[in-house]
């Protein structure tokens, strides 16, 4: 949909570096990660555990857990830098302009307050409305996220909601102040497939109808394929490949993306063996030289062990691999 990047993207992440100082030296968890998201666009961020996808989301909403810190790069919201803002300025942006949805709907809600109370509180924190107006808005939000009988549900506590309904409440909370960007970190991972489908349909509708940009962090390629316009594949704290979702899925340029796609059991073909990527993602304190994927890469050459590839154009996508556009061994 949006292969051409508009002049000012809604969110621009450039050369983002996140580090964790430890007693045994500094660990670099994100290493020059960059991407943009246009208004109304859904960008998927996919990768295995430890690739840095949740960390990217946390850095954008300003919720990095200390001692993690942004050690370089820029995060811009509508051209305006939001990294390194003081805590109270950041708090005003978070919630108002950036909404967050986390994996576990039970821990994102306060069990001691009714759902309505939490919604009204969020709305009144960010918008200049009266209590009655806030209540009306809250009921409207519950209705819009597909919760039946929203007036009755308004006065109930989180434990009275099922998992899928709770995740709708979390989405309603994220939408409360009409943010321009929603960072959704594994929003459907804790849910059953039938409920997952409902939540995905809801997110897509929001992006389409209200022009909300969504950064969808997930490990599930199926969810990405269904939901996103573009996808960024993260490996060991770097973007391995980024591009329109159909291209990345059907014509992956990076060997890691190819391995990732091949390892997913498909619904429409029979294979005796799944393609497997041997080994595991390197630990942060034992990053290989050159391309971080080279120890697991079936195509690694001598150059890959030595020199780190940057993102380069590979057809309609960009991939960080020396084999891209190389006719002979790099």
């Amino acid at each position: 949909m949006s292969t051409a990047t508009p002049p000012t993207p809604l969110l621009e992440v450039k050369d983002l570096v996140v580090e964790f100082p430890t007693r045994r030296g500094t660990l670099r968890a994100l290493d020059h990660v960059g991407f943009t998201i246009a208004p109304g666009e859904i960008l998927g961020v996919v990768g295995e555990s430890g690739a840095g996808k949740s960390l990217t989301g946390a850095a954008i909403i300003g919720l990095l857990e200390p001692p993690g810190r942004i050690a370089g790069g820029e995060i811009r919201l509508r051209g305006e830098r939001i990294d390194g803002l003081p805590a109270d300025a950041l708090r005003r942006i978070r919630g108002k302009r950036i909404g967050a949805i986390f994996q576990d709907p039970l821990t994102s809600l306060n069990p001691l307050f009714t759902v309505g109370h939490q919604l009204v509180e969020t709305i009144r924190t960010h918008l200049p409305v009266s209590d009655a107006e806030a209540r009306e808005r809250a009921i409207g939000l519950l209705a819009r996220t597909g919760i039946p009988a929203p007036e009755a549900r308004f006065g109930q506590y989180p434990h009275q909601f099922s998992g899928g309904m709770r995740q709708r409440v979390v989405i309603a909370l994220a939408l409360a102040a009409e943010p321009e960007l929603i960072v959704a970190d594994e929003p459907t991972t804790a849910l059953d497939v039938s409920i997952q489908a409902q939540i995905i349909a809801l997110l897509k509708r929001l992006a389409r109808e209200r022009g909300t940009a969504v950064m969808l962090v997930t490990h599930d390629m199926g969810v990405i394929a269904e939901t996103c316009d573009r996808v960024a594949v993260l490996y060991a704290g770097r973007v391995a490949e980024i591009g329109p979702v159909a291209e990345v899925i059907h014509r992956p340029a990076h060997p890691y993306t190819r391995g990732l796609m091949g390892s997913i059991p498909a619904m429409d073909e029979d294979r005796d063996e799944l393609l497997q990527i041997d080994g595991t993602m390197p630990r942060l304190n034992a990053m290989p030289t050159g391309c971080a994927f080279h120890p697991r890469c079936p195509a690694a050459s001598e150059r890959c062990t030595r020199e780190r590839p940057e993102l380069m154009a590979a057809g309609a996508t960009q991939a960080a691999c020396w084999w891209v556009n190389a006719r002979v061994a790099p």
């Binding site: 295995e48 555990s49 099922s162 998992g163 899928g164 309904m165 059953d192 497939v193 039938s194 409920i195 997952q196 489908a197 409902q198 995905i200 349909a201 490990h219 599930d220 390629m221 199926g222 969810v223 394929a225 269904e226 979702v245 159909a246 899925i249 059907h250 391995g259 990732l260 796609m261 091949g262 390892s263 997913i264 059991p265 498909a266 619904m267 429409d268 073909e269 029979d270 294979r271 005796d272 063996e273 799944l274 393609l275 497997q276 990527i277 041997d278 595991t280």
Partner: protein, 343 residues
């Protein structure tokens, strides 16, 4: 010995009493409450084949797994293993049988004792059943088991925390294989793993099955994984089997409306353009299941009979299905486009 299924389960039921404490029941006049976690489930598993049970959270699939390995006692019904009833077996007969069936659990972090070395963990069943004599024999056997699942013999001296999730799950598999079982019950063995690691574990499981003729009961909520590993698939809903069919039939022509719904809800990785129908509604509270067919409130084909009368499993060719609409001929088998494309 051919002809007889290795595992036969008849009318298996498990009820859990979840009533409030006695005093509360008396003072607040609360009724006794019983959850029918598994409610009249019957199936058979042929030697060397894989039966997968699928369903959403709370449908009772893990309870079936635990009943089969004896972690729960059934409230009703019978389980036969290799023709022998599991119930009533005591002492050494029970231990002999237990050795032939093992279980792999979902969470490779919780199912391995963090204070034990891998050697201790894998050798525990060997010691428990006195299968090897002497330390040297034990060492050799542990090394052999680890190599079978793609780990190194030297890994035996390490502790679980030194391994990734996928490697831990392989340690679980090595432990399960220690007694040379014929039947493995796998409860969501790859759900906690990343896809590339999941592929490694699934490939190992399939290879072991080919090499040793293992029989699997494979519990999963992931239909794509089930399609990859299973020979036959049972779909569970609220404690009951609603459809049991050979894998190809189930995925090409699902009969039960719930099976169709589940298949339609899977995200399509290869973007074939298939329309995904979001399912309406949620699984009802198992404490208070709907009357008649428990799926009727979410079913687009439900009528008065479905609300009143609970359908039994009926055999239609190679498929068993519990649905009035299918049985009455109101609902034809869905034909799903099966494209065989290689990527």
């Amino acid at each position: 010995m051919s002809g007889m299924p290795l595992v036969q389960v008849q009318d298996l039921a498990k009820r859990f009493d979840v009533s409030a404490p006695w005093l509360n029941r008396v003072i607040e006049r609360l009724p006794r409450q019983v959850v029918h976690a598994v409610d009249g489930v019957s199936f058979e598993i042929e030697r060397g084949s894989t039966l997968a049970l699928v369903g959403e959270s709370g449908c009772g699939k893990s309870t079936v797994a635990r009943l089969l390995v004896g972690l729960y006692e059934p409230s009703a019904g019978a389980i036969h293993f290799d023709g022998q009833p599991l119930a009533g077996l005591q002492g050494s007969a029970r231990r002999m049988l237990q050795r032939r069936l093992q279980m792999i659990f979902q969470d490779p972090y919780a199912s391995l004792n963090p204070r034990w070395t891998v050697a201790d963990i894998v050798a525990e069943p060997l010691r428990e059943h006195a299968l090897v004599a002497g330390r040297d024999a034990q060492h050799a056997r542990v090394a052999e088991l680890l190599q079978q699942v793609g780990l190194a013999a030297a890994d035996a001296a390490k502790y679980p925390h030194q391994f990734s999730g996928g490697q831990r799950q392989r340690i679980s598999i090595a432990r399960a294989l220690a007694t040379q079982p014929e039947f493995l019950v796998c409860d969501e063995p790859t759900s906690a793993l990343d896809v590339s690691v999941q592929a490694q574990v699934l490939n190992i499981m399939k290879r072991l099955q080919r090499e040793r003729g293992l029989t699997y009961l494979f519990i999963s909520h992931n239909l794509a994984v089930v399609r990859h590993v299973a020979d036959r698939v049972g779909v569970m809903y609220l404690g009951r089997l609603v459809e049991v069919a050979p894998k190809r039939e189930l995925f090409a022509a699902p009969r039960h409306p719930y099976t169709r719904m589940l298949l339609d809800a899977i995200p399509d990785v290869h973007m074939s353009g298939r329309a995904r129908t979001p399912v309406q509604g949620e699984v009802p509270n198992p404490l208070n299941p709907p009357s008649g067919c428990s799926f009727h409130p979410r079913c687009p084909h439900a009528n008065a009979r479905c609300q009143a009368e609970r359908p039994a499993l009926h055999t239609l060719g190679s498929v068993q299905v519990a649905c009035h609409a299918v049985q009455e001929g109101r609902l034809e088998a869905a034909t799903r486009p099966v494209t065989l494309t290689a990527t």
